[in-house]
Symmetry: D2
Subunit: 377 residues, 4 copies
Amino acid sequence: MAVLNWGMIGGGRGSQIGPAHRLGARVDGLFQMTAGALDHRPDQGHEYGVELGLDPDRAYGSWQEMLEGEKNRSDKVDLVTVATPNNTHFEITRAFLQQGFNVLCEKPLTMTVNEAEELVETAKAHQRICAVNYGYSGYSLVRHMRAMVARGDLGKIRLVFAEFAHGHHSDAADADNPRVRWRYDPKQIGVSAQFADCGIHAMHLASFVTGQRVEQLSADTVSLIESRQLEDDAMVNFRMSGGTVGRLWTSSVALGRQHGLAIQVFGEKGGLRWSQEQPNQLFYTPLNGRLTVIERGEGNLSPEADRSSRVTVGHAEGMPLAFANIYTELASAISAQKENQSMDLGLVPTAEDGADSIRAIYAVAASGEANGVWTKL
Amino acid sequence: MAVLNWGMIGGGRGSQIGPAHRLGARVDGLFQMTAGALDHRPDQGHEYGVELGLDPDRAYGSWQEMLEGEKNRSDKVDLVTVATPNNTHFEITRAFLQQGFNVLCEKPLTMTVNEAEELVETAKAHQRICAVNYGYSGYSLVRHMRAMVARGDLGKIRLVFAEFAHGHHSDAADADNPRVRWRYDPKQIGVSAQFADCGIHAMHLASFVTGQRVEQLSADTVSLIESRQLEDDAMVNFRMSGGTVGRLWTSSVALGRQHGLAIQVFGEKGGLRWSQEQPNQLFYTPLNGRLTVIERGEGNLSPEADRSSRVTVGHAEGMPLAFANIYTELASAISAQKENQSMDLGLVPTAEDGADSIRAIYAVAASGEANGVWTKL
Amino acid sequence: MAVLNWGMIGGGRGSQIGPAHRLGARVDGLFQMTAGALDHRPDQGHEYGVELGLDPDRAYGSWQEMLEGEKNRSDKVDLVTVATPNNTHFEITRAFLQQGFNVLCEKPLTMTVNEAEELVETAKAHQRICAVNYGYSGYSLVRHMRAMVARGDLGKIRLVFAEFAHGHHSDAADADNPRVRWRYDPKQIGVSAQFADCGIHAMHLASFVTGQRVEQLSADTVSLIESRQLEDDAMVNFRMSGGTVGRLWTSSVALGRQHGLAIQVFGEKGGLRWSQEQPNQLFYTPLNGRLTVIERGEGNLSPEADRSSRVTVGHAEGMPLAFANIYTELASAISAQKENQSMDLGLVPTAEDGADSIRAIYAVAASGEANGVWTKL
Amino acid sequence: MAVLNWGMIGGGRGSQIGPAHRLGARVDGLFQMTAGALDHRPDQGHEYGVELGLDPDRAYGSWQEMLEGEKNRSDKVDLVTVATPNNTHFEITRAFLQQGFNVLCEKPLTMTVNEAEELVETAKAHQRICAVNYGYSGYSLVRHMRAMVARGDLGKIRLVFAEFAHGHHSDAADADNPRVRWRYDPKQIGVSAQFADCGIHAMHLASFVTGQRVEQLSADTVSLIESRQLEDDAMVNFRMSGGTVGRLWTSSVALGRQHGLAIQVFGEKGGLRWSQEQPNQLFYTPLNGRLTVIERGEGNLSPEADRSSRVTVGHAEGMPLAFANIYTELASAISAQKENQSMDLGLVPTAEDGADSIRAIYAVAASGEANGVWTKL
């Protein structure tokens, strides 16, 4: 597979997510960064791009420049990653899709459902990839859960309990700190804070693992630090397209929990439990059997798990490689696309998933304001 | 402290809870079993009582006989434990209270709120103890959590997340098994199954630890095995008298979970986590500090924890000793009562707690039937 | 089974082990304490005995008085527990055995191998029980390990790794504290400190679980707090009668470990892992299979495990009930003895085990002094 | 920092370690692979190198060709990784050092102590880097342990207990499988099997964390699967240059353990515990304090830990990034070297460490054959 050209918008100096994308794209040697518009301040973006090894003429000052500069090149970037502030995702992603680029957009895909639906259509119309970075779905054992469910190991799934509850915003004295405050400010962040930031990852996992969409939900949203206008804790009950009942808890004031993303899946014939903080073990209990531990990298897992695993069993793998698995599958799909072969996106989350997430965020906000009334997505 | 006389109603041969009570009452040598009406079949109750060492004339054939036989004795039983089917608790407990006996009743205290309130009044009128066996509150570290909250270690409590979710009724093929079926039959069990059986323990713990009462709640109740008329899984959101937000999950189809009683408490200044399956460790994180492990039996815990602990730190203690702690505190209170001293029930759950629980059960059932509408207790 | 009469020597006010024995003896209601010589100070022993409910004439001032007082009674004690300082075990145990009493002696059984062997012979000659309290062997899942090994689930046992390493004597500033110092003083404690105090429990478990005796060993003993004359840390390699290789680590300066008794067993067909601090789970991995969790109280365990378990699966059981299991089996054996039936001591550790332990203690001390030379027991 | 040129010898198609090195070298974008002699079969090495993106004239057929081809280039490789069979390490590494290349050699550095010492001298004489890949030392929290010890947080270190015991060679039926057999064949592997393969990693960690060298040791080596000529299990007691006592267990028949590398460090003022299978948590107990959990990525760790950490706290990081940390520090050192600045190898293990390891392997083998006699390194 030839090395693909890759470009990034956002992710400039000091960004947290930028290095994570560069690491994920680089790990398997399938992408090389050849273009970028890394900062909304043109000079700084250019300078940092050159520092990272870009040719000076491809270290662009803005995404508009990058679009102009790349669109007619023969060696134009094969994939653009969008890691800018949330409220710019839609415009940038749409523009690149319309010019025939493949895009991997950070979550949330857009600020409104209409925008998300428009991106779904745009990608379809231009036959380009519009992927969304729900990176936790890249973990080998998360993919194995999905495979176990899909092949019927657990029978019909009755219940899924998903969590993303951490305690990193527990300090009331810190609530006015600008580093934290914007996260709970509806002007900057939209209709939801903690659910949109973290809860949505847990909900995506619930859908990813069960292969079902969320159809309706009831939410209890609260601001446990009172100065916050948006929720810092939410409990969401939901119903899925295949009949599964869902429960989801998200919090940023759960003091003592470091990360807190976890999922439990209960079917007619078995149960599963997985946590992001111990990602190399999957706890599986067959009906009338004992709890057993499935290890990442052990022999005879599903093809979905095997191809998402790099080091031998017993060695820890972490989140950066989960991330890398998204890029690896994108590389396969894009390579096929370039050779006009049929393209398989594998397990990469797409704009459809992104749109489902935006629907869920609005439904949680609406239900939360209406005392938990059941709300359709 | 002189050894007290103790009697038991119910808990005959083959009962699960009977031996647990006898063990709990016996552990510290503060009670001796001197009377009993152990079975609704007079002959079998008498025979079993004698086998357990009762004098033949105090191995009664029925609770009515026992009441008659004991009430005029100078060495009458100092405490009666009621461990009969739920729908007989009220009548028996009331009768014994009215004749001046102290009672420890199994949960649920009664079948209706009115009955529970009547027992509260009866106990008050006759100045007798009416305790309810929420035995998990007897664990040393559960009591330490309560003490930490009470003395302000965690600041104001924002959130409590309680769970009692196990998987022991997950087998659909077993749903018609008489051993299981009655548990989901409203004719035998009342308005709630899994919440009344298990969830209520978790809710009691939430109240016990925070020192707050539940004021209103919203419940999502489901029968995940469809043939069941009552819920086998429920999520309950609630609000407490001190402003704490509560969340509670209970299930009997959470395959792979053995017991599943656990509680997390999140305050302004710290967080706590405890699980019944690992009861000798309490996980405590102070605000801006690291997670630390508090061990049962370590030096300098609260008096409430210290007096509820028997073996040295590092040795496991289990549920039977939690149970015993309830009996130990009852013995102290009864001894004071006998000497006409002021009586301190310590941390023993009382009829008031029992009544709160019945209110919660009805509220969960009502809210669950009304799509989760918020319901006052 | 009629309630048996039980007496205790030592275990007076303030003793740690005394209450543990009384609790263990009482839990199942099979013994009642009817005599005692609880303190080497006659008045205090008498007073405390009466306080605990003994008849004044059976609250003896010394073990000699107790022996005189009891030996001709028709209702004499059926079992005597010896919980006095180590260097008195031999004399007391021998005297009671010679007069036809059954004895449960605290570990170590004696101070020398000769004494231990004499007790083995005395018990045999008088057809009395001489048991030694290796109480950890009473845990339900420890007994299940033994049963699994005995019935061949693991095939031939290649290796056992036993640990009893804690950190409670880590403070050098505390080394001269009388509460700690005597434990490392050869004049008071004999040839070994940490191995004799804790390591020997781990070695007993290794023998108990494998059904093999230790034949030779090599020890590395060190005083990590230099002022100590005896070892506070030791590593012992050994070879067992059935060909199993053993390794054993014991320490009292392993800061951060609370208790630290654990065992791993590795056979041709499977491996096991168990820890006293989480005693209700046994980790079992069959060859070419996955790690599974065996729960205390689950269905279909071995008879040895089932009869040593009291509460339903998922509930924690702790060390006091392990202890009680020793008493329960003693009660069965003594009841058979009283009816002149054949007597089965079940899994109760006996004087033979006690003698093996003394041999091991001397071998460890000798090997440790000789740079780890292999030493026969 | 300019991207450095990197070359690899060994690590051809199907190799396990090859991809791990390429991933580790690539993660931070500091190295690009520009040359390689990937296979002892010239055609296959060339073909695979081209497939991986090498220029055809730098995809060499042998290490000798590579040495010739690179040594006079102006853009010659800045670092050569040697991942060939163990018995070729010495010759290749020496040849490249002599021609002025920096080398990262897989462990073991050589087959004999003399060879290792010669490489130490050669590197010194030519002022080149000769590093050895003890990759586990790259974990962020392993480095934090070292920093804590170095800055005195634990006081004097009394004891270190290191383990690398897994169960992957437990199947006797598999012992003749060529995939396993060579590992226990002295003709192919030298004087030690399991200790040289795994135990040495644990011993390196013990030295790395304490900053002390092993001075003498006593080993108990056994072949628990009898057909093996070399040990599959060993217990090693040792003494370190700073007075620390060491204990080390390694096994390949510890059925049920997946990886099993772990270390416990006990000092006068605190204790630490870390395990490779849960590498993002470090368990720390200060003297007279409680066990606390240090998280990788939390604020205010040591500089050594902070610079070895990539993703935010709570996210798992795994072994490939530990590996990458070795490459990152090599890149810094080489960049300084190229600019004739003073070069800091940071925490990268060097030929001196490699030589110490070979000494330990020979000492273990000698002591094991002599019934555990204490042997100097």
